[in-house]
Subunit: 210 residues, 2 copies
């Protein structure tokens, strides 16, 4: 997997990954069976959407009135290919980069944080968990040597595009962009935007209109 699996759209993949976290939470609370309605209530969408998403999986763990929480979680993991290991790097170890490196549970979801880079002498050489922050000048070599395919860009806006270019030149195909500019990259590269201010704008609109 996932080569032979269903070809899922990015929004479906996102919802499945979010269902996975909910199922894991239910599993920890010893809730062994879950209905599409309960999953939809926890997620904040509707049961028909949930059923449609689950229908894309090969084996949904359906049990009469509901789904086995554990089996459904496992099937999502299998479908998303979370048993393979994809290597990730973080560029820019300010507060945000440090937060990602410290708190994102990569290894629980088929990823491994393989490198972290910065340009500041105060940060280079420091340890985050078991990882030593490297000098940005080592980025190209490290990405190639370690076969890193995903990069998170946590650098100031004015250098984001050049960091993106360097990542792409060295084989990175998935980028999580925390800078506020749109990045230019070849078509084979996927870019996810994490523009926190936009989430705040969404909330701001919502609280003003309810």
């Amino acid at each position: 997997m996932p080569k032979d699996g269903p070809d899922l759209s990015p929004p479906t993949v996102l919802r499945l990954s979010e269902y996975l976290l909910i199922l894991e939470q239910f599993s920890k609370e010893n809730k062994e069976i879950i209905s599409s309605r309960e999953l939809a209530d926890a997620y904040g969408n509707n049961a028909s959407q949930v059923r449609q998403d689950i229908f894309r999986l090969e084996n949904s763990g359906r049990l009469g009135q509901g789904y086995s929480t554990w089996e459904l979680a496992e099937e999502i993991r299998r479908t998303l290919g979370l048993s393979d290991i994809r290597k990730v790097c973080i560029v820019g170890i300010g507060n945000l980069g440090k937060a990602l490196a410290t708190h994102v549970p990569f290894s629980d979801y088929g990823m491994s944080l393989a490198a972290a880079f910065d340009t500041s002498p105060n940060i280079i050489g420091k340890n985050i968990n078991d990882l030593q922050v490297q000098d940005f000048t080592e980025l190209s070599k490290t990405i190639k040597d370690k076969n890193i395919v995903i990069g998170a860009i946590c650098v100031p806006t004015n250098v984001a595009q050049s960091v993106c270019d360097t990542l792409v030149e060295n084989g990175v195909r998935g980028i999580l962009n925390y800078s506020r500019i749109r990045l230019k990259a070849p078509k084979h590269v996927s870019i996810q935007y994490q523009q926190v201010i936009c989430s705040f704008m969404q909330l701001s609109y919502k609280v003003s209109n309810d």
Copy 2:
């Protein structure tokens, strides 16, 4: 506004806010007119979706073959009610909370960061920009006194629900949740989930299937 404005769905609001950042970027680059196609290319969707979204605005700044970049940006600001000021607080000033407090340009988008809270004696009393981190025990009073309506939860998972409860009890109606659990809140409260690991899973799926 936005009381008399169109009633926009959350995904539309999110896209409009993201178009706004793109338009501002084009504006800085002195690009005065933009086509729906160019906006779609920069955003990563299609021109028909862009036109449909812009159609929801009262005055789109349409000029023959394109839109005035500046007028379209202004109209999005007006529609999203970004000239009113909504007050925001951040709970939990670890690396992530500090990153939000330091880097999110609240005041450029109709918001004001009015308070930050933590429980650690090492963090309470420290300044972030012009804001002094307060003791978490002052949260209820501060939220009411300052009329804070939006809160970002950047605390460990095991206390996220109780922080959410306290925010809601004191009048917060919009919550940005960085913890990994689904939060329970009354229907009038909007919760945005920022589950960074899910964005990484999306990228991981994409790089494995292309």
